[in-house]
Subunit: 413 residues, 2 copies
């Protein structure tokens, strides 16, 4: 029996078809998906998911954040469930796989278990987390954040979109404000997701065993000098804010390269007055630091602050650097990593351990239960884009690994 | 007689009052002036100037570009005039001195000559050039440009403002489209102007003997990499356009410092997609190179192109660099420089020779006659700003020098 279970595979064609069917809801002309949280498209996607689950005999519950749980009963229904899932909402110009893959893969796991009449000891639940993308309502990962106790339902429901509609009103409007309180005991959580980066594809590997989520510190930096006419102002009398910002921006990149597995990015820059023949008086830019440990994050921040102080002092410029975002580093549970790794090994999938640089619902879940993620390659590492793409064999492989990891943590009777 | 003439001084209080009176027209709450070319305010400023000239017995002519000439007859009216002037139009948030000073100083020269009953051999004309600032209609220095044959009246009149009104229509509407053809023989041209830079103030000097106008080459540079998520994309797999642009921007500043009397400025930068957690895929920036000689300009351009090619190749980025503006270097006539310098010496004004980094009507005039400029300090080098300011004693000193230079070139009978 054990041998057979380890060779068990999901129905890749059925999984691929589910993804294709769900991609019809909010489909864009360029082949992407626009299914923004708590819109009519999101409701239609949720309804489709619920219909599929009911057809599969799964029991639906919806919590006050609109998180959907579809339960496949276990041999011991008193045990906490093993949960797997992700989100169905997308970016405004999103793709067919981000989020949706994790939900459809979990559904395919349940279907496969049904196909083979397999009963698990723990119940299994498929989760659809509300507003992961944070496109319409902030913060990102709102549903899983409330589930994990990071903020309250009341806080989340009060957030407004650009038209002044609150998240609570939007949830009520689409009929997905459930009455179940948020949060409950969870035996383990797994999430399959496209990598959204280039590492696996570059290495010709199929499975990413995700070791955890990078911690993040974001800052806003402002460098201030004096704007002046480019023509009449000699070089030695300038206080050019852009020339002060430039070496800081270069230092940030070098700092990201100097530490293992870290990232340092300046994505946003605004120059004032931003006129061709005026020396810039002010430059604003963002700093996004990510690292596996808080010690690295702190060291990187110190180095950025030193670079900013040094370069501004050298040019008689002023500057400020203010933290705007902090997410702590989140190592995933060893038991979950091991379950993912050994499944990949058994199928013979080329794999590697890697960190998640982006945020995922699994990162909030990791604070309340053992959690793990399975990454599969996506084309050119591109995501949050209508051209987001992935190969069917990779999609199937990730789901096979999910199947094994879920069976291992849920136990098979 | 010669000795007396060399000790002659203008009426500084009258000059200061003229500036104050003109500053009432289009005055802004913050103490600046908004008198945009060919608006009702510009018409009111012109009307005031014309009224003052008529009161002084000067003869007004207006050419097809709306350039105003107020003529003080000379002993030999067949000789070409010595012209002095500048412009009365301002930036949208302009100051009280930029342009206006050159016109009021020329008027004060005529008034002073009248006070002392002095007759010059050449006629003297005060010029008000149309649309120097280029705020409403492009190009800048439009009136003097047509006068100097750089482009045609028809071309200039066809230029449209943001509301689709042509320059010709605006000129007709305020009644300043004259019937005199543009351009005529000129014995010499002088223009007094605030420096618009910090050199004189920093050196505690009163008079800038302007040696000429810097040549200018402007470029648009685009650096292209690949935008990607800041989180999932490791440093070594990035093609970050901002990190490619950064060392080029730094190199441009260094190139400006490496050559004598040159300027190199990046005033405009635009990052795409300019999102905090997205690696920039494209960066556009401007390059403004200025130098006293074409050889320097060419050497600087070569160095910028080399830096761009080197930095982009090192990061697997593409780039383009396209020239958008070229103004040739314009050395002023030795005879005019000498007239300005010796006047400053005679009055005992601390002075230095400096180049004009900005464009002025005198630079176009220099292509059709001997031309020169007199700079006086402005507070903190600030111009094109409502807080633009200058000291009365410097304003007077510049006008005294203008008086001497005009008398020298026009001859006194």
């Amino acid at each position: 029996m054990l041998h057979d279970l380890q060779a068990l595979t999901v129905n890749g064609e059925r999984l691929w078809q589910s993804l294709a069917d769900m991609a019809q809801i909010g489909a864009t002309p360029k082949g992407g998906v626009r299914r923004i949280a708590l819109t009519a498209e999101d409701k239609a996607g949720r309804d489709q998911f619920v219909a599929w689950c009911k057809a599969q005999g799964l029991a639906i519950t919806i919590d006050r954040m609109g998180n959907i749980f579809a339960r496949r009963e276990g041999a011991d229904s008193a045990l906490p469930p093993v949960i797997s899932g992700s989100h169905l909402d997308t970016q405004p110009s999103g793709g067919r796989f981000d989020g949706c893959y994790g939900v459809m893969a979990a559904l395919e796991v349940c279907r496969t278990l049904d196909d083979h009449g397999i009963t698990t000891r723990h119940p299994i639940e498929i989760a659809v987390w509300t507003n992961e993308e944070g496109t319409r309502f902030t913060p990102v990962m709102e549903g899983s954040g409330v589930f994990a106790g990071k903020f309250t339902v009341e806080h989340a429901r009060a957030q407004k979109d650009v038209n002044g509609v609150t998240m609570g009103e939007a949830l009520d409007a689409i009929g997905y404000a459930g009455d179940v309180e948020c949060g409950k005991p969870v035996a383990a959580y797994f999430e399959a997701h496209i990598e959204q980066g280039p590492v696996l594809e570059n290495a010709n590997e199929v499975i990413g065993v995700v070791s955890g989520g990078l911690g993040q510190r974001w800052f806003d930096v402002t460098v201030t000098g004096m704007d002046a006419h480019a023509g009449p102002t000699p070089m030695h009398l300038r206080r050019d804010a852009l020339q002060g910002a430039t070496p800081i921006v270069a230092a940030i990149d070098a700092i990201g390269r100097a530490h293992p597995d870290t990232r340092a990015t300046v994505g946003h820059m605004r120059v004032e007055p931003n006129s061709r023949n005026v020396i810039p008086g002010t430059v604003h830019f963002s700093v996004d630091l990510r690292a596996p440990t808080d010690a690295q994050l702190s060291a990187m921040e110190t180095q950025v602050r030193e670079a900013a102080a040094r370069e501004c002092a050298a040019r008689k410029l002023e500057h400020t650097m203010v933290q705007t975002v902090y997410f702590p580093p989140t190592p995933f549970a060893k038991v979950c990593k091991n379950a993912v790794r050994s499944a990949a090994q058994r199928y013979g999938y080329p794999h590697r351990e890697l960190v998640s640089g982006a945020g995922h619902d699994a990162i909030y879940l990791a604070s309340v239960c053992p959690a793990g993620m399975i990454f599969v390659p996506c084309k050119d590492g591109i995501s949050h884009n209508e051209i987001e793409d992935a190969r069917p064999e990779h999609i199937t492989a990730g789901c096979n690994v999910l199947l094994q990891a879920v069976m291992e943590m849920a136990g098979v009777v």
